[in-house]
């Protein structure tokens, strides 16, 4: 990696850490379970790395079975596929469950019930 790119990446890391600390400290304990589920879904962004690996190389079953260094690309594709699968599960279930939970947190249930 180019040293300048590396420095820039370290800047991003440091700032994200600081920002993360500030933002997440403000989440009330009430919402800690949705928080965990949400950050989980968000870190499912590692999917973008998996996608590139799963789609970069030609998968060749014969080469895979033959083994050796010729099989590397096919192995990488398979690993990329599994990673795409697990990361997608996290993204979809993470956001889905977060939303399902957040829907349940209501302030005005009593008023609604009284109105009925």
């Amino acid at each position: 990696m180019d040293p300048m790119v590396l420095i820039a990446a370290l800047y991003v890391f440091a700032l994200a850490a600081f920002l993360g600390y500030q933002v997440i400290s403000r989440v009330p304990p009430l919402l800690h379970t949705p928080l965990m589920s949400a950050t989980n879904a968000i870190s499912g962004i590692s999917l973008v790395g998996s996608l590139v690996i799963a789609g970069a190389y030609r998968f060749d079953l014969q080469k895979l079975l033959a083994g050796g260094s010729g099989a590397h690309a096919s192995w990488a594709t398979l690993m990329g596929f599994v990673a795409v699968f697990t990361a997608t599960v996290n993204v979809v279930s993470g956001f889905g469950l977060t939303d399902r939970m957040l829907k349940m947190f209501r302030k005005d249930i009593k008023k609604k019930e009284a109105a009925k």
Binding site: M1, A9, V12, F13, L19, G20, Y21, S25, V27, P28, L30, L31, H32, P34, L35, M36, S37, A38, N40, A41, I42, S43, I45, S46, L47, G49, S50, L51, V52, I53, A54, G55, Y57, R58, F59, H72, A73, M79, G80, V82, A83, V84, F85, A87, T88, V89, V91, V92, S93, F95, G96, L97, D99, R100, M101, L102, M104, F105, K107, I109
Partner: protein, 468 residues
């Protein structure tokens, strides 16, 4: 604007992709910020979802992607399984599902790292290799660690800590071996034997790390694994030179880290103590105090006492989740509120098996979040509470933590239900609960025990209250 510049942007999909990632990163942070209040949370998360969708779609146009078969298969299968989880996982099973998702996130990061290594080991810089090593080590140990945690929470594996002589020495050896392999790969990128050795030791270390930890400590473990999974994603970002991965992974990692600290504080223990203490395995004889007779109360008496109270505070614990009694609590609360009784809920930070679990369960049962009180807020109110009802909680209301400096949980902040005028404890049997500690609360003068399945008991109480 210079037309050439515009053309340049149009012709280079990478700039568009980078810009998409930038927008997505901002939306992610915005989404997390919206979680600071339940009223704004949903909307903010929708923005984060939009950011995610944009980032994924944009990546499909990445110039390194040439074959779409496996990608589409993975996306479709993953979406189906993910949607099934999102729709059908019951709220009581959130801890297991969260542990499983940490494993899934970590295995994705680890696999990306391994694949990168097999393809590009020779051409990587030293820095990239060290990031890759961190990614793979954190990824592998989080994968198996989270699977064990998930198994313990689901009941596939016994929740009691597994400990044996020389365990810590063995763990240390595994750890040193893993780091040694990592060090070797740093200096000799073509030593793939050492790399796969590191992978194997990482998986093994994850198992060893979690088996000695008891179920009651799961909130801390879950948060820590959350942190590792996030940091592993961030390391992937360094390997691939991808900022959005660094940002999202760091946010996830820090969220887990902050939660771990909060959970440790709520138990007055250090992280090392949780990881290596093997709490709950030792049968402490915590001196005298925990003797006397437990007084049982009949359903009818309990109902009368509740019905004529001015203020009732419910204190739920993991037992509420195992008995799936959240709706029954709400029914009873409704019946009481119909009679003009004030009902509040006191939530201990480590009640349940993951941070915030009790809040979600009660919200599911239509309890408005304004009635859910944190420990610090409810404690001063307990003096003026007529009846405190403990539902399947034990350690978080154990007065020994406050009064007995020799207790293993000494110094842990508790919900001081013993200060209420009377206490009713709903409990399955006379056992000691997960930590194996005797609870003096149960022997106090103003405490009455109501044995049985929490859900049944609460439903019957609700009926009785209506008949009073």
């Amino acid at each position: 604007m210079d037309t050439q510049a515009i053309q340049h942007v149009v012709q280079s999909p990478n700039y568009i992709l980078e810009f998409t990632y930038l927008i997505a990163s901002i939306l992610f942070i915005w989404g997390l910020k919206s979680l600071s209040h339940p009223d704004t949370a949903r909307q903010g998360m929708h923005l984060a979802e939009a950011g995610m969708a944009a980032a994924i779609l944009g990546t499909l146009f990445h110039h390194d992607i040439h074959f779409f078969g496996w990608i589409i298969a993975g996306l479709i299968l993953g979406s189906m399984v993910g949607a099934a989880f999102a729709i059908w996982v019951p709220m009581t099973a959130m801890p297991q599902r969260t542990a499983l998702s940490h494993a899934f996130g970590a295995v994705a990061a680890a696999l990306v790292g391994i694949a990168e290594f097999t393809m590009h080991a020779g051409t990587m810089s030293m820095f990239t290799r060290s990031a890759l090593g961190l990614e793979v080590m954190l990824g592998t140990l989080t994968t198996t660690g989270s699977l064990i945690a998930c198994g313990k929470l689901q009941g596939f594996i016994r929740g009691t800590p597994v400990q044996f002589k020389g365990q810590q020495l063995l763990n240390l050896l595994i750890f040193v071996g893993m780091i040694g392999c990592f060090g070797h790969v740093l200096y000799d990128p073509l030593a793939s034997g050492y790399f796969y050795g590191m992978v194997a030791l990482g998986f093994l270390f994850g198992v060893m790390l979690v088996i000695p930890i008891g179920s009651a400590d799961m909130p801390v473990v879950m948060s820590l694994l959350n942190s590792y999974a996030g940091l592993s994603s961030a390391a992937t970002g360094f390997v691939l030179g991808n900022n959005i991965l660094i940002i999202a992974g760091t946010l996830d990692g820090f969220s887990g880290f902050i939660l771990s600290i909060l959970m440790c504080k709520a138990m007055n223990r250090s992280i090392t103590n949780v990881l290596f203490g093997g709490f709950g395995s030792v049968h402490h004889e915590a001196g005298p105090g925990a003797t006397g007779e437990m007084r049982e109360i009949s359903l009818e008496d309990a109902a009368v006492r509740l019905a004529y109270a001015g203020k009732v505070v419910f204190v739920p614990g993991y037992g509420l989740a195992t008995a799936q009694a959240q709706h029954a609590v709400r029914d009873l609360a409704n019946a009481l509120e119909a009679r003009g009784v004030t009902v509040k809920y006191g939530i201990h930070p480590v009640a349940g098996r993951m941070p915030g679990h009790m809040n979600v369960l009660l919200a599911e049962a239509n309890v408005p979040y304004g009635d859910l009180y944190e420990m610090e807020t409810i404690n001063p109110e307990l003096d003026s509470t007529d009846v405190a009802v403990v539902v399947g909680a034990n350690d978080v209301v154990n007065p020994d933590a406050r009064d007995n400096p020799n207790s293993p949980i000494a110094g842990m902040p508790i919900i001081e239900v013993d200060k209420a005028k009377t206490v009713i404890v709903l409990k399955r049997g006379q056992g000691r609960g997960f930590s194996g500690l005797e609870n003096p609360l149960f022997f106090k003068q103003n405490t009455s025990m109501l044995y049985g399945d929490a859900k049944n008991t609460l439903s019957q109480l609700a009926q009785e209250v209506k008949n009073v």
